[in-house]
C-alpha cells in the first residue's frame, strides 16, 4: 500500500547518484569525511595502536620534548601525549555521537508530534522550545554540571537535553510541509493508522535535514564537552579527554607550550570536519542553495 503512493519529494526525486556526486564534488566535505574516518578509526583502535599506556606515568621523564620514543613528547607526569590523544579522542567522539543522536531523537519526537497533532499540543511544545532557546544554555549547563557532578553519562545527557531545539523546529517545519502533500492525505483517507503514517510517511521525509542537523550537532557537542572539561566540569581525569588535557596543559604553557597545542588542534579539526561534512551533505541534498 505504501508503495502505491510512492513517497518522493523534489530532493529525493533526483537520481540517487547525483546527490553522491554533488557531495563528492564538495572538496571540503570529502576531506572532512576522510579526516573523520581516520580520527574515528584511530580512536577506536587506540588500545592497539597507542604506543604507550595513556595512564602510565614516568615522573623522571616529565614535560619531555617530542622525540623518537615520544612523538609528541610527554606531559607533566611523563605520560605519552600521543597515546593520551588517541584515547582522548574516544571520549570526544563518543560524547559527540551519542549526545547528538540523543538530541536528534528528542528533537524528532517533539517536532514530529508537535507538527502532526497540531493544536494545543503544538502550541505548548513550541512555546517550550522557544523558551529553551531563549535561556542562556551554556550558563545553565555550567550550573548543572557544577551542582550535579561531572561524568561521561551526565555530560551526554545534559548536552542532549539542551541542544534538541533546532532539530525540533526543523522537523516540525518539514512534517508540516509533507503533511500537506497529496500522498499523505491519501494515506490518511485510506485509513492508515496515525502512528503508521508518522513512521512510514512523515519521518522519512525529514531524514535529509535531520542528518544535516545531526552532523552539525556532533560538532556542537564535541565543542561543548571540551569547553566544560576545560572548565574542569566535564570528563574527569585520569580518563583523558581532549578538553581536560587542554585544561591540564594550561599550567605548563610557559615551560611546554606544545602540550596545549595538540588536544586543542584535535578538537578544532574534529569540529571543523563535522561542520564541513554537514555543509557538504546539505549542499548535496539541496543543489539550489548557496
Amino acid at each position: 500500500m505504501a508503495d502505491a503512493v510512492s513517497p518522493r519529494t523534489a530532493a529525493e526525486a533526483a537520481p540517487k547518484g547525483r546527490a553522491l556526486r554533488a557531495f563528492l564534488r564538495h572538496r571540503g566535505a570529502t576531506v572532512a569525511l576522510f579526516l573523520l574516518t581516520v580520527m574515528t578509526g584511530a580512536a577506536l583502535l587506540a588500545p592497539w595502536i597507542a604506543p604507550y599506556d595513556p595512564e602510565k606515568i614516568n615522573i623522571l621523564r616529565s614535560l619531555a620534548a617530542p622525540s623518537a620514543q615520544h612523538w609528541l613528547g610527554t606531559d607533566e607526569v611523563g605520560r605519552d601525549v600521543l597515546s593520551r590523544l588517541l584515547f582522548g579522542g574516544r571520549v570526544s567522539i563518543v560524547v559527540g555521537l551519542v549526545a547528538a543522536t540523543l538530541s536528534v531523537a528528542i528533537g524528532v519526537a517533539i517536532g514530529g508530534l508537535s507538527a502532526y497533532f497540531g493544536g494545543l499540543l503544538d502550541a505548548v511544545l513550541m512555546r517550550f522550545t522557544d523558551g529553551m532557546l531563549s535561556i542562556p544554555l551554556f550558563f545553565f549547563l555550567l550550573v548543572v554540571m557544577a551542582v550535579f557532578g561531572s561524568g561521561l553519562t551526565q555530560i551526554v545527557i545534559v548536552i542532549a537535553l539542551t541542544s534538541w531545539m533546532p532539530v525540533a523546529r526543523i522537523v516540525r517545519g518539514e512534517v508540516l510541509r509533507v503533511k500537506a502533500l497529496p500522498y499523505v492525505e491519501a494515506a490518511e483517507a485510506l485509513g492508515a493508522r496515525r502512528l503508521h503514517v508518522i513512521l512510514r510517511h512523515l519521518l522519512p521525509q525529514t531524514v535529509p535535514s535531520v542528518i544535516v542537523a545531526a552532523t552539525l550537532g556532533v560538532a556542537n557537542a564535541i565543542l561543548l564537552e571540551s569547553a566544560l572539561s576545560y572548565l574542569g566540569l566535564g570528563i574527569q581525569p585520569p580518563i583523558p579527554s581532549w578538553g581536560n588535557m587542554l585544561q591540564g596543559s594550561q599550567a605548563y604553557v610557559w615551560s611546554q607550550p606544545l602540550l596545549a597545542l595538540w588536544p586543542g588542534l584535535m578538537i578544532f579539526v574534529a569540529v571543523m570536519a563535522y561542520n564541513a561534512l554537514g555543509d557538504g551533505i546539505r549542499d548535496a541534498l539541496d543543489p539550489g542553495a548557496g
Binding site: G28, R127, G131, S134, I135, P136, L137, F138, F139, F140, L142, V143, V144, M145, A146, V147, F148, A219, L223, S226, A227, Y230, L231, G232, L233, L246, S249, Q250, V253, W254, P257, A260, L261, P263, G264, L265, I267, F268, V271, M272, N275, A276
Partner: protein
C-alpha cells in the same frame, strides 16, 4: 505598536519566572551545599550551624518564597561566599564584561561586514574563497584553545601582550588597558565575527540578485552607489537580527574567555559561583542573563521596524 510587543513582553516575563523556578529547584535539590560549608578546617558541627544560619535547612518552597519576596523589593540577596550584596558584585563585574562584549562585538562588526560585503560582490573570487574558509574556521575553533594559543604566541613567545587582567589597577593608562583588552576581545569575538561574515555574505548575495538592484545597475547607476544606496541597506537587515542572537551569546562565551584571561567580569563570577554553589549569585546571574537575552531580541525587533519601513507592528 505595541500590542504585539506587549504580549511578547508578557510571555518573556512568564519565561523568566519559570527559568528562575527551574534554576532554584535544580540548585536547592542538589546534593552538598555552598562551598563555605566545606572548608577543610570547618568541622561538621560548625558546618551544621552555618547551614542553619543560612536558612538552608528550610523547605525549598520556603527558600524560594523568601528569595522571590526579597527580589520583588529589589533585593538580590547577599553572596554566601563573602557576604557582599549580590547587586554590588554584579555592578562591579558588569562593566568589565560589557567592555569586553562591546569591544568584541565592535571588532566583529568592523571586520565582518566589509569582508562579508566584499565576498558577496566578488562571489567565488579568491577573496571570497579565503574569507569563506576563514569564517568556517572561525566558527569551528574552540575559543579556549585559541585563547591559550594566543597567550603562547603573544605573551610567552613574543612578549607583546599581557596574558591576563585588565590593567586597571596597574600603573598604565588607557594604552595599557587596550593592550590587556586586545586578546580577550579578539578571542571572544572570533565566533561572532565568523558568523557575521557568513550571514552578511549570504544576505548580500541574495540582495544583489534582486530586481531593484538589477534595475539600478541596468539604469547605469555606478556600482558603488548601487552598493551603498540600495544593496547594503537591504542586505544588512537580516544581519541586525543575527546580532540580536549573538549578543547574549557573547555573555555566555565570556565565561570561558574571562577564565582564560583572568578578566574580572560576570562570566568568571558565574563560573566561580557555580563551583562554590553560591546560590544567590547564581540566581541573580540567571535573571540578569535571561533579561539580557529578552531585551536583546526586543531591541532587535524594534530596530528591524526602524530599518525596514515595510514592517509595522500592531
Amino acid at each position: 505598536m505595541p500590542k504585539y510587543l506587549l504580549s511578547r513582553l508578557a510571555q518573556s516575563a512568564v519565561l523568566v519566572v519559570i527559568v528562575s523556578i527551574v534554576m532554584f529547584a535544580l540548585i536547592a535539590s542538589a546534593p552538598g551545599g555552598p562551598a563555605i560549608l566545606y572548608q577543610e578546617d570547618v568541622d561538621a558541627e560548625a558546618a551544621a550551624t552555618m547551614r542553619r544560619n543560612l536558612g538552608l535547612d528550610d523547605p525549598i518552597v520556603v527558600q524560594y518564597a523568601r528569595w522571590a519576596a526579597a527580589l520583588v523589593q529589589g533585593d538580590l540577596g547577599t553572596s554566601l561566599s563573602n557576604s557582599r550584596p549580590v547587586a554590588m558584585l554584579i555592578g562591579q563585574r558588569f562593566g568589565a564584561t560589557a567592555q569586553l562584549a562591546l569591544a568584541s562585538l565592535g571588532l566583529a562588526l568592523v571586520v565582518a561586514i566589509p569582508i562579508g560585503v566584499l565576498s558577496a560582490v566578488r562571489r567565488n573570487g579568491w577573496f571570497d574563497r579565503i574569507a569563506t574558509a576563514g569564517a568556517f574556521m572561525g566558527v569551528s575553533i574552540p575559543n579556549f584553545w585559541l585563547g591559550i594559543m594566543m597567550i603562547v604566541l603573544f605573551s610567552v613567545t613574543l612578549g607583546w601582550l599581557p596574558s591576563g587582567g585588565t590593567g586597571a589597577t596597574g600603573d598604565g593608562g588607557w594604552l595599557e588597558r587596550l593592550r590587556h583588552l586586545a586578546m580577550p576581545a579578539f578571542v571572544l569575538g572570533t565566533s561572532t565575527m565568523a558568523q557575521l561574515t557568513r550571514y552578511t555574505r549570504s544576505s548580500m548575495v541574495t540582495v544583489l540578485r534582486e530586481d531593484f538592484v538589477r534595475t539600478a545597475r541596468a539604469k547605469g547607476v555606478p556600482q558603488r552607489t548601487v552598493l551603498t544606496r540600495h544593496a547594503l541597506r537591504n542586505g544588512l537587515i537580516p544581519v541586525v537580527t543575527v546580532i540580536g542572537v549573538l549578543v547574549p551569546r557573547l555573555f555566555s562565551g565570556a565565561a570561558i574567555t574571562e577564565s582564560i584571561f583572568s578578566w574580572p567580569g560576570l562570566g568568571r563570577l558565574a563560573v566561580d559561583a557555580a563551583l562554590q554553589r553560591d546560590f544567590p549569585v547564581i540566581m541573580a546571574l540567571t535573571l540578569v542573563v535571561s533579561v539580557l537575552v529578552i531585551v536583546a531580541s526586543f531591541v532587535v525587533d524594534v530596530l528591524y521596524a526602524v530599518i525596514d519601513p515595510r514592517i509595522r507592528y500592531g
